[in-house]
């Protein structure tokens, strides 16, 4: 039972354009959501997070949007850069599980010149 789903395995975007990565979840208990970026042969690095009391969080070129009624979140990268090419994982947790994260299957983003 996949509680966190990333339905697009890959995405290709031109440099300078917006990248939109999507994530859906099924467990309404989730109250904290994160995005991680992973380069080959490296561990995932934390990118940005959002609490369920918010619907938007920004950090530089990265913005995460949360739609609780649709159980959907998205990561926007503007403008996209070649160094953003990586696999992006969304993850979710709820306060009853003390930091235990449930991850999606990942989306491979390629930013082309």
């Amino acid at each position: 039972d996949q509680q966190v789903k990333q339905n697009s395995p890959s995405l290709s975007v031109q440099e300078g354009r917006i990248s939109i990565l999507n994530c859906d979840y099924t467990n309404s208990m989730f109250d904290y959501f994160l995005w991680y970026k992973k380069y080959p042969a490296e561990g995932p690095t934390f990118l940005i997070s959002i609490s369920s009391i918010k619907d938007k969080n920004e950090d530089g070129r990265f913005t995460v949007f949360l739609n609780k009624s649709a159980k959907h979140l998205s990561l926007h990268i503007v403008p996209s850069q070649p160094g953003d090419s990586a696999v992006y994982f969304c993850a979710a947790s709820w306060s009853g599980t003390a930091s235990k994260l449930t991850f999606g299957t990942g989306t491979r983003l390629q930013v082309t010149l």
Binding site: S49, G96, S99
Partner: protein, 114 residues
């Protein structure tokens, strides 16, 4: 900066061997985690620990055990390695408290079981 160090980047073992994967963190984090990453499956939690000597099963604990004798060190043990345990193994740590704390990951151990 949080540093999570996994003892080996690459490891090749034979079926039936007992395999130890070691992880050390330097930020005095209470929580530590072991995941495996497989294509198309994302990261799946094997075991986690909230404190020394404490351990809890994750989503896929079968065939694995863990040990946490010191706060900074969390070991994953494959009791009798099998080919379906060939994977990328990732260790992570985080502070205790509410859920609103990101986990910090090591660079992973790519384990091949022949």
């Amino acid at each position: 900066d949080v540093k999570v160090t996994q003892s080996s980047r690459y490891l090749v073992k034979r079926t039936g061997e007992k395999v130890f994967l070691e992880c050390v963190q330097d930020m005095d984090h209470e929580n530590m985690f072991w995941y495996r990453q497989d294509p198309g499956l994302g990261l799946r939690l094997i075991y986690f620990s909230y404190d020394v000597k404490m351990k809890e099963k994750g989503d896929i604990p079968e065939g694995y055990s863990v040990s946490r004798e010191k706060k900074e060190r969390f070991s994953l043990i494959l009791e009798s390695a099998s080919t379906n345990q060939t994977s990328m193994y990732l260790c992570a740590s985080s502070v205790a408290g509410t859920s609103n704390q990101p986990q910090h990951f090591g660079d992973g151990t790519r384990l091949s079981i022949l």
